[in-house]
């Protein structure tokens, strides 16, 4: 089943000097494995972590996450 929420984290990391998953994890206060799970769409983070990701990349929330539900 396709996850209801997709994300651009992989591309955003690439655009930010190939930021590593570890560096992103440390910036938003989660483990590297949680960043991997979010990137793969296997875990939907809390709003707080979602905003921290957007803040880390200096983009808006909808530039990071897209809701696919109901389509």
């Amino acid at each position: 089943m396709k996850p209801a929420i997709s994300n651009n984290i992989r591309r955003l990391r690439f655009d930010n000097n190939e930021m590593t998953q570890q560096a992103l994890a440390e910036a938003i206060g989660v483990t590297r494995q949680t960043v991997i799970a979010i990137e793969k769409g296997k875990y939907s983070p809390s709003l707080e972590v979602a905003f921290k990701i957007a803040e880390t990349f200096s983009v808006t929330l909808d530039q990071v996450f897209q809701y696919q539900g109901g389509k």
């Binding site: 206060g29 590297r32 799970a37 809390s46």
Partner: protein, 146 residues
């Protein structure tokens, strides 16, 4: 050594599942046989139980130390919201398992007038099953995603 995208918390859960299953499978098989044969008295069962608890504690410390030493960086990371969410969801379901187990044992005790040694060990078994379900569900959530 590169960790296989398995967090310290997940490895820790795998270790706890293995230890609890290994030790308490042995304990319950011995106690069941002993109660059926009538070869175990209260003191012997208490000895077995005490030994099982000590074994679990010692093995937990040993295995978690080894897991931490294999990947110190992962071990230094604190559990995060994903770990806590999985733990809470698994705990919610395992709580139901324990509650249903206790109700069944209570009904059996009232209907069949069970001996206290049987009741005590059936209650321990319900706790064991509940804990097993909790660990297994956490691993399931880590593997499948949530």
């Amino acid at each position: 050594m590169k960790s296989l995208n398995i967090s310290f918390e997940e490895k820790s859960t795998w270790a706890s599942l293995a230890i609890v299953t290994f030790i308490f499978a042995g304990y319950f098989s011995q106690v069941y046989q002993g109660l059926m044969d009538g070869t175990l008295d209260k003191a012997a069962i208490f000895g077995l139980f005490f030994g099982a608890v000590i074994s679990v504690v010692v093995l937990e410390i040993l295995l978690h130390t080894v897991i931490a030493l294999v990947n110190i960086k992962d071990a230094e990371q604190r559990s995060d919201e994903r770990d806590r969410l999985f733990s809470m969801r698994a705990g919610n379901i395992s709580g139901w398992v324990l509650g249903i187990g206790v109700l069944i044992i209570a009904a059996q005790t009232l209907m069949n007038d069970l001996d206290s040694l049987w009741v005590a060990n059936l209650l321990l078994f319900a706790i064991f099953v509940s804990q097993f379900v909790s660990y297994a569900l956490q691993i399931f959530y880590y593997r499948r995603g949530y």
